[in-house]
C-alpha cells in the first residue's frame, strides 16, 4: 500500500500542477517531503505554508499536498476536506484515472459531491445563419441546484435558461435578442450561476460574436443529373425515295400509255422516260445520301421541360438569394477565460 501511494504521488503531483511552478519555499519543501514519503514532515510543512502568504496557485497546491498526504495516511475525511478546498480554488481540476490510485480518486469524487461548483463550462465555436442555428453550451454542476445561465456584455443581460440541474447540462442558444434579431457583434460572457440555499457558485466563459454576409447561391446552368437531348435526329437510310420515284415515274409512263389515243399510234414514251429517268436518278442519289436531320419531338418536349425546370429552379434561387442578402452569418468563438469564483 505504501509503495502504491508513492507511485501515485509521484505521478499525480506533476499532473495536477501543470506548467506553473510553486513559488513558496515551505510548500516546495512540503512537496519534497511528500515525495520522500515523509508524510508527517509533509503534513507539518504544508500546514505551515498555509499560514504564510500564498498566491492562489500555491494555496491550491498546499491543499493538494494535504489531501494526498491525508489519503496516504488513510485519513479519508481529512483528505476529502482538503480536496474540497482544492476544488473550490480550482473547479476545473481533473485527476487522471489511469495515473491516480482509487483511494485518491474516491476521496476526490466524494469531495466533488460535497461542494457546489460549475465545472467544464464549454461554448462550442460555431458558424451559422442567424435564426437558423444555435450555439451549443454545456457545463456540469456538482450538486442539485437551481442553475441560471445568462449572457452578459450587451445592452441588457440575456437569460438563456433557468433549471434545477445536477450533472451535465446541455443548452442550445440561438444567439438572438428578444426581438428576434441576431445579437450584435462584440464580446460577451456566458455566465452560469448555480444556487443552493445560501450557497452559490458561478462560472463564466467569454465569447466573441462576429457578423458576416451569408453566401448566396449561384444560378444553375444545368440541372445536376440531367442533360439536354439533341433536338434533331438523323433517320435511318431508306429505300423509300427510290421506290417513290419509281412508282411516280411508272404511273406517268403507264398513264401516258393508257391515255394515248389509239388512232394516233403508240404513244411516245421518250419524254416521260427522260424525265422519269432523271427522277429515279434523283431518288437513287437521295437514297444513298445521309438523310437530313429531322426534329425529334420527344427530345424537344423533354428539353422544353428541362428548361422550364431550370428557369423555375433559378427563380427559386434568386428569391432565396434575396432572402440570404438580408440575413447575417454569425460566428461565435470562445475566448480564454478566468477561473470560477465563489
Amino acid at each position: 500500500m505504501r509503495h502504491s501511494l508513492l507511485l501515485v504521488s509521484a505521478l499525480l503531483v506533476p499532473a495536477v500542477v501543470g506548467a506553473q511552478d510553486v513559488q513558496n519555499a515551505t510548500l516546495r519543501r512540503a512537496r519534497a517531503a511528500y515525495d520522500n514519503l515523509d508524510y508527517r514532515q509533509a503534513l507539518s510543512l504544508a500546514q505551515t505554508a498555509q499560514r504564510e502568504r500564498l498566491n492562489g496557485f500555491d494555496r491550491a497546491r498546499a491543499y493538494e499536498v494535504l489531501a494526498l498526504t491525508y489519503s496516504a495516511m488513510d485519513s479519508i475525511l481529512k483528505a476529502v476536506g482538503a480536496f474540497k478546498e482544492v476544488i473550490l480554488l480550482e473547479p476545473e481540476l481533473e485527476l487522471d484515472p489511469n495515473r491516480t490510485s482509487p483511494k485518491v480518486l474516491s476521496a476526490f469524487q466524494v469531495a466533488l459531491t460535497q461542494v457546489l461548483v460549475v465545472r467544464q463550462l464549454r461554448v462550442d465555436s460555431t458558424d451559422f445563419v442567424g435564426g437558423q442555428g444555435a450555439v451549443a453550451i454545456r457545463y456540469t454542476v456538482t450538486q442539485p441546484a437551481r442553475v441560471v445561465t445568462r449572457v452578459t456584455g450587451g445592452q441588457a443581460p440575456i437569460k438563456l435558461d433557468s433549471v434545477a440541474a445536477n450533472g451535465q447540462v446541455n443548452l442550445r442558444w440561438p444567439a438572438r435578442l428578444a426581438s428576434g434579431d441576431p445579437i450584435p457583434p462584440g464580446t460577451y460572457t456566458v455566465v452560469v450561476e448555480a444556487t443552493v440555499g445560501q450557497n452559490s457558485f458561478s462560472a463564466s466563459q467569454p465569447i466573441r460574436v462576429t457578423h458576416g454576409a451569408v453566401d448566396t447561391l449561384p444560378l444553375l446552368v444545368s440541372l445536376p443529373g440531367y442533360e439536354y437531348l439533341p433536338e434533331t435526329e438523323v433517320p435511318p437510310k431508306s429505300w423509300k425515295p427510290m421506290g417513290l420515284a419509281l412508282v411516280y415515274s411508272g404511273i406517268a409512263i403507264a398513264g401516258t400509255s393508257a391515255l394515248s389515243q389509239g388512232d394516233l399510234g403508240s404513244a411516245s414514251l421518250r419524254e416521260a422516260g427522260v424525265i422519269g429517268g432523271g427522277l429515279m436518278v434523283a431518288g437513287f442519289v437521295v437514297m444513298l445520301r445521309k438523310p437530313a436531320p429531322q426534329p425529334a419531338r420527344g427530345n424537344i418536349l423533354y428539353n422544353r421541360l428541362l428548361r422550364e425546370q431550370l428557369t423555375r429552379r433559378n427563380a427559386e434561387i434568386a428569391q432565396d438569394n434575396v432572402r440570404r442578402r438580408q440575413q447575417v452569418a454569425l460566428r461565435v468563438v470562445p475566448l480564454p477565460r478566468a477561473g470560477g469564483v465563489r
Partner: protein, 223 residues
C-alpha cells in the same frame, strides 16, 4: 457592246447568287428560270407525227398554301421520218397553273393552256381551261417530285371542232432539285395531253384527236 453587256449580266447574277442571304432565300418561295423543251406531237392520225425542241422561260411563286406557276415555250416541230406530214411548224405554248394546298401531298390545280401554231394551218391552235389535282412528295433534302392529272375544259381550236366533257385529259410528272443551298433549282417536267377533238363537216362527227408529249429541263434561280 453585246459581249460586254453579257459579262455584266453574268457578274450581276453571280453577285446576286453569292451575296443574297441564304436564310432569306430559304424563307422565299419563288423561282425564275429557263427551260429546254422537247416534244412529240400527233394530230388526226399516226401519219401526222412531229417531233421537235425549243426553249422558254418559267416562273413560280408560292405563298403559304397558294402557288402559281407559268411558262412560255416555243418549239419547232418537224415531221418524223415516215410521216405523211411535209412541213414543220412552230408551236408557242403558254401554261398557267394556280395551285392550292388541300391536305397531305394533295393540291388542287386550275389554270389554262394556250398553244398557237405557225403557220396557222399546219396544226391546230388550242386554248382551254384546265382543272386537276397534284400530288407532291419530298424525296429528300432539296429534292421534290410531283404527279399531276387533270382535264381540259372549254377547248377552242383554230380549225373548229369540239371535245366531249371528259375528252381532254392531261398527265404530268415533275421534279425539282435544289443546288447551291437552294439558290439554284434544277427542274424536270413532263406533260402529256390528249384531246379527243371531233369535227362535223355535215357528214357526222369525225374524230381528229390531238396528242402531245413534252419534256422540259430547266434551270431556275430561287429567291
Amino acid at each position: 457592246m453585246n459581249r460586254r453587256l453579257g459579262g455584266w449580266a453574268v457578274s450581276a447574277m453571280a453577285v446576286v447568287l453569292t451575296a443574297y442571304p441564304a436564310n432569306r432565300l430559304s424563307a422565299q418561295h419563288g423561282s425564275v428560270g429557263v427551260q429546254l423543251a422537247f416534244g412529240d406531237y400527233r394530230e388526226v392520225s399516226s401519219d401526222l407525227h412531229y417531233r421537235g425542241g425549243g426553249g422558254g422561260v418559267a416562273a413560280s411563286f408560292t405563298y403559304k398554301k397558294l402557288g402559281i406557276e407559268g411558262s412560255v415555250l416555243g418549239l419547232t416541230y418537224d415531221p418524223v421520218a415516215g410521216s405523211s406530214a411535209t412541213a414543220s411548224f412552230k408551236a408557242t405554248q403558254l401554261d398557267v397553273r394556280v395551285r392550292y394546298y388541300i391536305a397531305g401531298p394533295v393540291s388542287a390545280e386550275v389554270g389554262f393552256v394556250n398553244r398557237k401554231m405557225k403557220p396557222e394551218f399546219e396544226a391546230q391552235s388550242v386554248g382551254a381551261v384546265r382543272a386537276g389535282a397534284r400530288m407532291s412528295y419530298p424525296l429528300g433534302p432539296g429534292v421534290n417530285m410531283g404527279l399531276r392529272a387533270g382535264m381540259l375544259f372549254g377547248s377552242k381550236f383554230s380549225g373548229g371542232g369540239t371535245v366531249s366533257g371528259v375528252g381532254a385529259l392531261e398527265l404530268g410528272l415533275n421534279m425539282a432539285v435544289d443546288a447551291l443551298r437552294g439558290r439554284l433549282r434544277l427542274t424536270g417536267d413532263y406533260d402529256f395531253q390528249r384531246i379527243a377533238r371531233t369535227t362535223n363537216g355535215g357528214g357526222g362527227d369525225v374524230p381528229v384527236p390531238i396528242q402531245q408529249a413534252m419534256g422540259r429541263i430547266g434551270l431556275a434561280v430561287a429567291f
